[in-house]
Amino acid sequence: MFEQHFLILPIVLPLMAAPLCILLGQRQLAWLLATLVSALSCVISVNLLYAALDQGVLSYAVGGWAAPWGIEVRMDAASAMVLSLVTAISTLVLIYAKASIEKEIDSSRHTLFYTAHLLCLTGLSGILSTGDAFNLFVFLEISSLATYTLVSLASDRRSLTAAFRYLVMGTIGATFILIGVGMLYMQTGTLNMLDLADRIAQSGPSRTLNTGLAFILVGVSVKLALFPLHMWLPPAYTHSPSAVSAFLASTATKVAVYVMVRFIFTIYGVEYVFHNMGMDLILLLLAIVAIFKCSFMAMAQSNVKTVLAYSSVAQIGYMILGISLASAAGLMAGLLHVFNHALMKGALFMAVGAVLYRTGSVDIKAFRGLGKKMPLTMAAFVIGGMSIVGVPLTAGFVSKWYLVTAALEQQHWLIAFLILLGSLLAVIYIFRVIEAAYLKKPDESAASKDIKEAPMLMLIPMWVLALGNIYFGLDTTLSVAAAESAAQWLTQSSMSVGGGQ
């Protein structure tokens, strides 16, 4: 009897589980509840993904009020794909967190951690499911507030300044989005995304709509850490608890990329954003600068979490690059990279968190000799690293392949070359860590320490993601089909609304 309500459950389940965690008040139970609810949401989301691939689009009228008067929950392949990804990663991270947060978060705050995690998941699911521009803002703020809390939970005092910086920048970004949505509403009188698309296509460009788009894009760019608005990301990922870094790195920025895609392709339409306003060139330039500048920044870091954080900003560059190509192939490559990058960064951050768990440090020096002492953890790191670089047979290779193909399809030789060059830079920063782990001898003091392999509860989710990198490198049926169908759906509807009438 619940099948017709499946669309709303990935939001409502974690939303109700969060207060239940507080009422339970016991951290073991809270962990169990959070993990179960997250896994259930994941099963439902995958179901929705198959339904969306099958039927194209699913819609649900909250409160029984038809759109545009009520709020519509709407799912197509793009949203269902990212939603499945987010709920799956959330489940894995929760399994991983049980051991990981023992050493990183004071035990009196564990229940609060699970509550905040569930609230964050609620917000992300809401952003992905909603078909209403203002409702998106509300869910964005739920996830953001929960994220600030999650970042600040680490015992290192620098997590506080990192969270504060994130809060200030994140709120400015959200307020920019609020201004942009206000301008959209002012010009069209509606907030429903599809209705907005229709009315924008009818009314044609205007200054108010241009400004609204600019504000929305800047606001979303803050949230997705597009260069040069990425300053909050490296400290936030470096100083937050490992489980939080793993979760945020593989979900929060991805959801922001989705929001950008939604505004560009569904609401405004390709015609408006790229042809009328020339946004493709701006996004392309920023993406390329991000790839190179942040790859070099990643090489200069000694804290491995910071290396990965800068690498994330660089990888976000690839996703935006795909979008800025303004073609179905480019969008598809960008979305595929969203999916694959989540697998890589999840595995990498989990491996680094395991090192922190055993050695108490994430400095590159602490990695020396770990190839022998923590073989499974480091092997997972190597697989994740290979995938970042884009070595064949890994998921990273697949998305780079589609990106290069999409660039070549439009005869952008230079861009294709830059993508390959960027991958070479990734080799350098990833290899530094691998070199330390396998080729360097540990210091005297560290050598005498008895370092064991990470506990099973951390290894299992880490290896699920690592194997995911290989699986989706070999068998691309599901990931490519989802991304392809998502891109086709988005560009088609965008063309038919944006240019057709």
């Binding site: 203002f134 803002f137 509300v138 703020e141 507030l145 600030y148 809390t149 600040s152 005092r157 620098r158 506080l160 300044t161 969270a163 504060f164 910086r165 809060l167 200030v168 709120t171 400015i172 959200a174 307020t175 609020l178 201004i179 206000g182 509403y185 002012m186 907030l191 400290p235």
Partner: protein
Amino acid sequence: MSVIVDYYNYWVVVFLMMAGFYTVIAANNLVKKIVGLNIFQTSVFILYISMGKVSGGSAPIVAEGITTYSNPLPHVLILTAIVVGVATTAVGLALVVRIKRAYGTVEENEFKDKDDLI
């Protein structure tokens, strides 16, 4: 002249927003940054409420003898936005209190470590 009558409200709101925005990015003290953030957000609220106004209309509560009502939708949106604003403020200020205890300062230029700069 009509341009001024039509838009003066929005222009003042833009000025207010920018005063708040400037305070957020230029202030040295973290509490003042949060105040700036609040001013910025409150000004956006005025933008929304301004667009909901109908000349000669009255508050959107049904009453006898009234035929023109202002638009209730922006009011609803801003009620939500106000709540979001106070929630962010509370978390931000709690962070400031903890930063003061951990670092002994809430002045941006007094953080010694480059990593800690906000």
